[in-house]
Symmetry: D2
Subunit: 361 residues, 4 copies
């Protein structure tokens, strides 16, 4: 396990689906930041299950409590511990039961790695693990927002083959994203996405999608080459999220088809400082933020839990047909939006502190 | 700067384009490994410039010397320091010169971050920085190969719009990759790629491309959720390479279009152990290696150095036309293959040691 | 703040004196370890205040709850989060009050470092911070005990000028240490120590002391030269405890007076393996455990909180006489014993996992 | 192995006694610092062997070369690699020879830990390993000196039972320390120390000693509680040095005998800021620098290599008499002074950068 992330702004998460609670410890949070649960709860609400007909029917309130690090509404500079109680706290005792590892789930590899696994609900590989990230990310975001005016906005870019169009990364707001349950700011396609997800839910199937994210008003100079370039840490942060299969920044995979004469972003003076005319780079040069908007995109696979029968094998290799019952989330991207924003905030906040260590910023 | 990578198998690189030398210190290399310069040189030769008509005309021998950590042909368990001398060791004194930051180069952000920059050739953001990675990666690879029989093979998947077809990731070998100068195992398309690159070199332009990589015979159980999942560390490793814009594992961005009923990889017993029938996952489940081939793909942008005139601005914001002279590498992917393999080896070796710490493997 | 300790067996602590609770997250705890609150509580009871007439009159139960990482009585390999609620959870609002930094307390430096400080009770520099360490250490100790039969025993070696004699570090047990409230196994001197502490409590003064600790049955080969030699990490661990002023291993400062011909520990075969006849080294050679008992000693200063009037200055530099009221702990060493054992266990457990990563042990 | 130290100002050392060279990579060195080999060489000269009749007769020039990270006399912010060639580069092939582990040497534990060991001269446990530390420390010291006016001075406090008196830690200078070959500023006792060491050298025996160190003009606020308190990192740094057995800060072990009413350091306004009247604390409160002089003391054991016959056992347990030949260093403290200063500088520089990350300093 490696449940700690960051060098100076450092988060440690804990908890699995059926223990007493999940949460995080944020160490290195700058002192004197105004902070209360009300600063954290909104993003938790955006990621919680049961918030719309498109997500799982599980309904969990996910109320956060700040255990430490804050006094009289201000951070002390000491670790901020955050706790969200689990509703379902009773693990099953699965000993003696036939073990049929769910296809494309983490149960198999957890059992092989640790020789033991959580009884149900995904354990540590459950989406509940991301609660700690979202809570911690909300703090990082508040710090960035108050210090640099940083804005971080993620949205659903595609569901299956349905792709959003016309999203302006320089102007998109969280309010605009939240105008529909899919969290896709292209209203026309959002309706079709919602229909598709609802249909797949009924069918017992699931679907993948992509999420885009932009970070605006990030100071120039963030990122620590060579191994912790800004995009490298963003890539790690994003690929550490459940169900992610890909990350691209700026021109991304499309950039691999382009010529340099087209892809290069020439400089010009704008708004009193050096800017680039285009932003194929996606906001970094040589792994360091350039002052342009940081723009990246993430691929999420279709959730592995489906209600359709699957021909697979049990742990001993015997062929079986697995028929899942219960509830499932047919598409993760609407809820993933808040999680992606949280991880982006954690990366940028850590890099901001590290650059500040040079006496810069 | 963050020039150290890995937790137990840990590499620290140093050097820029015009200093005395570049290299790496490998700390945590397992003891008693047979090792000499001859184990490292082949991969350095595969990445060096001037190896074919498609790369830059600069020609550097890049001979590696092991400074420490090896006695009588065996590693001692102590840090292995590796040094490659630079041919061009004399930095220019650019003080007083007009500073025109090259579009899409790191000069601008280095100057903004550090208040100073290397005189020429890219400094620490130069491709020469990857020499230390390749040398260190060769050691990691040797360890993996001797301990687990691990095979790591990368190849050029596309150049511009030209895409390889029919590459069998279960069988592809490094020898097959090296049959042509492009390092694309699809011989038919490789010829076209070579022509395209040669033509762009003549035109003074550049082109992007993609590299795929497979890691076979990786033990089950590697990867440290939640923040150091195997794919998360691979993503960080790859996006820390110069010119990379995207990373995808398994089904990647294509997987975001798929349904769960199709994307799930069912289990079956094969070769005496549990395997999956398909491998859309790309060799990991929940961030932990599953025993299937680890398969990922990387996007590289077109090199920023081009010989065509570019309308841009100098550091003070004055509009200028930049006309570069000299030599350039029109496409990085043929040389990137060895670098990608090196970073993959560094990630997997570190994870193998960490899993071994549990008494497993 | 740096509230995380260890590389593979890694503890992150949180909490200050007047927040909702204190605790720790143990990441990297080996899976399949039998664990419940009952394994942790005894050491918390040994460090809690109010356990005897010699300690502070504050009486806190300090009951630990395992929030995560354990199912059906076994660790899952996932983070084990531990929480102890604070009795006094209401911070004072000190804004506007005159700030008289208590002499030799951390209030002054916390205020200078963070520009803010906890309202009362010491905040993060309070002894309550060590609760998370003790809880985490109990888990580390259980792992070591079950895996290697490791025994860790600390005891009070001196209080003021009163020094224990005749303690046999090869045989001393925790039961013997707990036979008196001072936790000094030399019964004769223990009575005098208790009297001295009681008298100082009455006088409103305080007194320093030393604690010795032995770790037996530690496997050969633990410790990671050069910067994480076993004694270096022990020294860091111990000097990170409140009120510590010194650390020595083996012969320690007395060894600095000796000649090599006397100080060297010659080898001999004993109990079927290579042992040393003497153990001036204190159980390590070159920073690596030798298989002999690891033996070290710690100096604790007299507690800074005293009831006597002190001529000092307020934060603005005005001369004042500070007269503390309330309760104080006249001597920390009786309670420190459990804390020292915990930190020793955390160091040794981490080093054991790291050595295991080499396939050894 | 753990050959990297520091979080932001980070040094990685390499090399053993008989490889091609020893050195260090300094990552995170602030940019724009004036730096050349001439800034580093003086401290290397103070630690090198053969500098006086009291040290080993081995005579090595230990000339340092800066390989990277500096251009036109200024640091670039990129890794500064430092190399010192070894004079004796040819390891012996000891296979087949009887292995008699030298008493109190690291050979035995290295062999047990790694299953292999360097052929001669101590390998990685040799004092040559400290060359990289000293070179790196000289850079850290230059940064601190230029930024904060920090002064770091270490001296020999005792050799055997001979103790220095009257050293004023507020005024002592490096020049005063270097006035005699022992590096003890108490001239009267220094002569006796030199005689004692010379006599023991002749006898083939060795002797221990202590080194004191003071760091003046360290800004208030350095140190990262709870695990990286300033004194905790100093303790780790110092106990990671070969032959060290103890560390104490401020009142140290003597403080354990004192009452709080005497030991507390009251505040007063002096030189326009809050100071303490006494400094029993040794310059830190709660693990954070207070602005007072940081003062600590270190115990070094007598060197294990002696020329007298020793009754010990070979690796197989057979009793043997070991008679060493050649050269030895009868007392390490005169040369240790520069090494202690280097490690202190590395700790303080890292903490200064970390505090600066808060926007402070």
């Amino acid at each position: 396990m490696s449940s700690t992330f960051g060098t100076l702004f450092r988060v440690t998460t804990f908890g699995e689906s059926h223990c007493k609670g999940v949460g995080a410890v944020v160490d290195g949070c700058p002192p004197q930041l105004k902070l209360s649960e009300a600063d954290i709860q909104p993003q938790l609400d955006r990621r919680r299950p049961g918030q719309s007909r498109l997500t799982t029917d599980r309904n969990e309130a996910d109320q956060v409590t700040i255990l430490s690090g804050v006094e009289n509404g201000r951070t002390l500079g000491t670790p901020v511990a955050l706790l969200v109680a689990n509703k379902d706290q009773i693990p099953k005792d699965y000993s003696g039961m036939q073990f049929i590892p769910r296809p494309s789930h983490a149960e198999y590899t957890y059992q092989m790695k640790y020789g033991i696994r959580a009884s149900s609900g995904g354990g540590r590989s459950s989406a509940r693990e991301t609660i700690g990230r979202v809570a911690a990310g909300a703090i990082a975001e508040k710090y960035l927002q108050e210090t640099f005016g940083t804005q971080i906005v993620a949205w659903v870019d595609s569901v299956g083959d349905l792709e959003a169009a016309g999203v302006d990364q320089d102007k998109i707001t969280r309010a605009a994203v939240d105008q529909n349950v899919v969290r896709c700011p292209d209203e026309k396609i959002a309706g079709k996405m919602a229909d598709l997800i609802a249909r797949l839910k009924e069918e017992g199937d699931s679907i993948g999608g992509t999420v885009s994210c932009v970070c605006r008003h990030v100071p120039v100079g963030l990122g620590e080459p060579v191994f912790e370039k800004l995009e490298a840490k963003l890539a790690q942060a994003m690929l550490s999220l459940p169900a992610t299969k890909g990350f691209e920044i700026g021109s991304g995979f499309a950039g691999a088809r382009m010529r340099g004469s087209r892809h290069n972003d020439p400089f010009e003076k704008r708004e009193g400082r050096l800017r680039t005319r285009t932003n194929y780079a996606g906001g970094t040069l040589g792994g360091i933020s350039s002052g342009e908007a940081i723009y990246f995109r993430l691929a999420f696979k279709p959730p592995a839990t489906i209600m359709l029968p699957q021909a697979t094998a049990d742990f001993d290799g015997q062929a079986v047909v697995l028929e899942a019952k219960g509830r499932h989330d047919p598409c993760v991207v609407p809820r993933a939006v808040a999680i992606v924003e949280a991880m982006a905030a954690l990366v940028v906040a850590d890099m901001a502190l590290r650059q500040q260590a040079r006496g810069a910023l």
